[in-house]
Symmetry: D2
């Protein structure tokens, strides 16, 4: 069955394996007339590129995006936008041994269970490189959001035990440190912690947070197409995500109703505004106009140098130590992936919402 | 836009408002030949029925299910199964005042923002009664899972600060206490805690856990149709859910790779089995054959007697105290809803997976 | 697999069997604020009702529609609209024998082949009564089209060899004769022809035409979601339809390009208009602003009194004569079904088109 | 809105413009383990290639297919297969003038109406080159069908007034003449007719027929996902198709029930077989095991040298004569496109059908 398409109206289809010829995405449903060039895409892709510092894999990929269709004279045409990124560092030889056993924490076993065999080169389709297509599409979705005034901010909230200090939050810091943390001091502590992990041949988990400001109220549909439900799917579809929270998240389980409810007050022009934002920007799954706030829990990189027990494809127990050079933490490079999936989900919700009211439809099509 | 349909192969469409004439569901894509009767549905619906104990709203609804189509001589025909539940306690008068202001924590404001107005009777489509359709469909999905040997266990893990003791876990207890807790002592403590909440005119949150045993490996598709991603959407589409975790969930963020990875060992017939289950039964988003384990964080009932600040539809600040009789906690009645959404998602994944391998397709259609 | 849902934005899910308890439809994605009452639905349903004249089956069904959800104080709420029609004439006994053999021209054999068994009462899900849900939904879609100024006219173009005279076309006649023909004289000839058919224990085919006037240009999406492709699917999903034509239809195969092309001229306000309409209102699958014009070929009622050869479920050859009382022609009752499917498809295309241009999206969401 | 994705389980997403950098397709949902190489694709693409004889445009494109993902060591992996074809003959200059006015019979006006502007180079997304993605995907679908024993035969039935003689039908002829006609004499007559058309600066329509042999009974789902309905959509989504017929097609409108019904007889192993095939292989929209038989009516090439009236983008009437060199008939090159769309639709129906019976699902997943 097909599982590489996401979105109903702003719809993306990604493809490609870690060590195949190329990876890419087809973005269908982008409105016509949006200015778009390869640099827009590249800016996003560069945020997930490996090899940029000593805490990410030294595999060097230029990861340069080519737009093959859907853009004419610098503007989208309304037709599908195909974006392609060639794989350059196809050193498949490094991975040949990996075909013979199941790496703990990886999808080796489940792909074999499902398909009978797998492309073992660098994780194939389950590699983190799969996210290139998401991020390229996220760059386009973000441009759409920006045109409507919605701003996304996404960052690392924690790496292992190191959390950012909410009081020291400084958005300007996010792009200033290799961890995309909005807190320079926490970033330094994270560096020390990861140094320790590397020394021990181990890896670290962490959390990512995303905020959408200047939101439009009314996005998301009741019941199954709740904005929060789609964001949960979008975020949990990213490889290493093991938890999703919106607003106060799992903390609500020990809160009282009187604490968790957000009181309404009268805002500008008489529009109701919430005094607090425990809800994280959705009520009944529909955006309430306040900031959207969500969080993802990311598991530690499964590739560790420390010895692990596992079994071979032909059913023999072995001990393995994953060599190669792997990021001791996935979190920083996943920040732009989370941001991209949120952007795509919001663009989709924006288009879905346009036919919610009959009088708005009539006004849209009014003819004399 | 439409948002009341869920699933690709096993597809459900729910409809109905809290105080309309009826609620229901159309289940399309159920295979032919499954024995099904109204009692099967009723058993599930009874688990979410109100008025069963002093911690749930005394509104009396028989909530009796009628199967209107798709079943012939006690077996499903492969055609859509329409199930209808009449609303009996339509005391709309109680709610008339609620139309004039926005209840904190409810979807009143967002429905108005989206649609321009709303059905104010008992929350309309955003009422918890919306879940009747999900649960009726869940009963059918569960029958399918049972035929394949998959067993679901779903229960309350915590109410406010009261958690079950994992060492005292007793599945037989789940249906023995009003909170669906697998721990009699925790249930008693929860009762005391909720008594206190009620006295204070307040409400409590909690957590629900669901386990699927005897799982089939290979369910879920790479990238966007990961089993975990669809479970996240399924669970987060339930009204009061604010967090979703699979396996070790948010705890992974402070774990080391060497802790979080599950080692493989050689199991029965040489099939690889995981020695631990930090992953919660999915690797790369595809089921790995071990137990599926997930958790939902549920917010406190937003309807509380304690005074709250809000605004009227015409933009005036007021103080409100939600009267009526409301559950001090949503969690126990949501247990069967979570179980239903998991069952539906698994049934869908089972059917989607049937065309994963070419040789299996050939074997399926082999003709002499 | 599920096959009872149609449409992406304006989405309908139908259910029910000929001799089950009821039939119905859930309409999801209808904008909020559309005035709607049961009479709106009934008006459409009455046009497909049996027993209205001597050329339709004397089975008496009041076919009265109940709206169970999605409407509040006479207006749609944006939530799913569930419509239910009870089956009254459930004389299943009449049909008991039919379970034992395969009626030629019916779906008896294919349902058995697909599902292993079937509901034999009156054709079950493959009965013409299945269209009740489509027509109820079509009534809603038509109200939406009317609000936007689009007018549908649907009628019988031919019954057997009897064709309407294009020069005598009189729309006012359509509801004045039992065949929904826009030509009184042709209707008389059709009556005579059908009288003959009945006498011979035989049945007749025919054609239905549908015109949409005051169309909006730009509906439909390139490649697979062409308006013409979706209309083809919509119309060919109706039981007895064996051909679909748009504009000049199959006649184009013998035309020259210079004949088939429609020249453009300058219309009102400088907007281009076509001087002719060979295209039937679509160019490249997208509506061109001129009238939409399509045609369906309907096969003769397969239930005939004349002796036919067939086989029993247990593989024995037999001769059968379908007794009961059946319409000698399906065409007239299918007119409103075609109209409904066209209306639903157009409503869907209208909503899909709203996000085609970025500046229109921006204007829609413009905020100060 | 997105419109470039087709299929539910075997799902294709095409992209690309006539004169952009490349065109392609992503095929998702292909089972793992199917042998596939670029030659398989090329064989199909070569059948739609231009410049192969004097009746097709002399534009030379090698149209060579590259598989970028989804295949490992000569077998599909179950992951999306991305296929890319570079555009070589991007002589955009030839087309620059075309941006200024609306060609009759083309989608120039409707694209402008929908999107506000368009890519005018060679028709952009509405060019016949768009079908490259369909045909590449069709090659894969055909391999799947072949593995299951289903054989497709697709050919030109008529060009203008020249029809094949059914009695002279010779499948071996199809690839022996430039028109893909199964009748050498008809092909000669067609050549003469087209010579005449060219001399007159005009073009011709025609019809294409497709037969699927050795069909499996039970494919297609009741109501909206009828096999016939999906075939209608698949075929009518091809640019120049103006009519679709299945079985006796539009001829049914003048047939009697006793003529149109296919009697059943007892076949091999007692399985019912139809003595005739007026139905074209579907009953109630579900395949009945006999040959599938369908027909498409193709309009004449809209680009003709003869003078036509039209208007400019800025609303002025002009006369135009489309120069360039264009095929005087689209039909022959569309044969493989029709075959491809039928193959894709059948593959999709095959996978959808696998969960139709509960006992088949149980047998599929049986575990000891």
């Amino acid at each position: 069955m097909s599982g590489s398409t996401y979105g109903r109206f702003f719809q993306i289809t990604t493809w490609g394996e870690s060590h195949g010829k190329a990876l890419g995405v087809v973005v269908d449903g982008c409105p016509a007339g949006l200015p778009l060039c390869e640099e827009d895409i590249q800016l996003f892709l560069d945020r997930r590129k490996p090899g940029q510092n000593r805490f990410s894999t030294p595999r060097k990929e230029s990861d340069s995006a080519q737009i093959l269709s859907g853009v004419f004279e610098g503007k989208t045409t309304g037709c599908p936008i195909s974006i392609l990124v060639r794989n350059e560092a196809q050193r498949s030889a490094d991975y040949s041994e990996l075909a013979s056993y199941y790496r703990p924490g990886h999808a080796d076993f489940t792909f074999d269970a499902k398909y009978g065999f797998r492309d073992p080169r660098g994780g194939g389709r389950s590699s983190g490189r799969e996210t290139i297509g998401r991020v390229a599409a996220g760059a386009i979705a973000s441009k759409i959001l920006n045109r409507l005034g919605i701003r996304l901010t996404c960052y690392t909230r924690s790496i292992g035990p190191v959390q950012i200090n909410p009081d020291a939050f400084d958005a300007a810091q996010i792009l200033q440190n290799p961890f995309y943390m909005p807190d320079a001091q926490a970033a330094q502590q994270a560096a020390q912690y990861l140094e320790e992990c590397k020394k021990n041949g181990d890896s670290s988990g962490g959390t990512i947070e995303c905020i959408a400001e200047n939101m439009i109220a009314g996005l998301g549909d009741p019941v199954f197409e709740k904005l929060s439900a789609n964001l949960a799917k979008a975020v949990c579809s990213i490889g290493a995500v093991k938890s999703f929270e919106i607003g106060d998240g799992s903390a609500v389980s020990t809160m009282l109703g009187s604490e968790n409810n957000d009181a309404f007050a009268v805002g500008k022009n008489g529009v109701p505004v919430k005094k607090t934002n425990h809800s994280g920007g959705v009520l009944g799954g529909i955006s309430d106009g306040s900031n959207l706030l969500l969080r993802a829990g990311i598991k530690p990189t499964p590739s560790v140098r420390r010895t692990q027990h596992t079994v071979t494809r032909d059913g023999k127990p072995i001990e393995v130590s994953i060599k190669g050079r792997h990021d001791p933490v996935i979190v920083p490079r996943a920040v732009v992936v989370v941001e991209s999936m949120v952007a795509i989900t919001l663009a989709d919700a924006l288009f879905a919402n346009m036919s919610a009211k009959m009088d708005a439809v009539e006004q849209f099509y009014r003819r004399s």
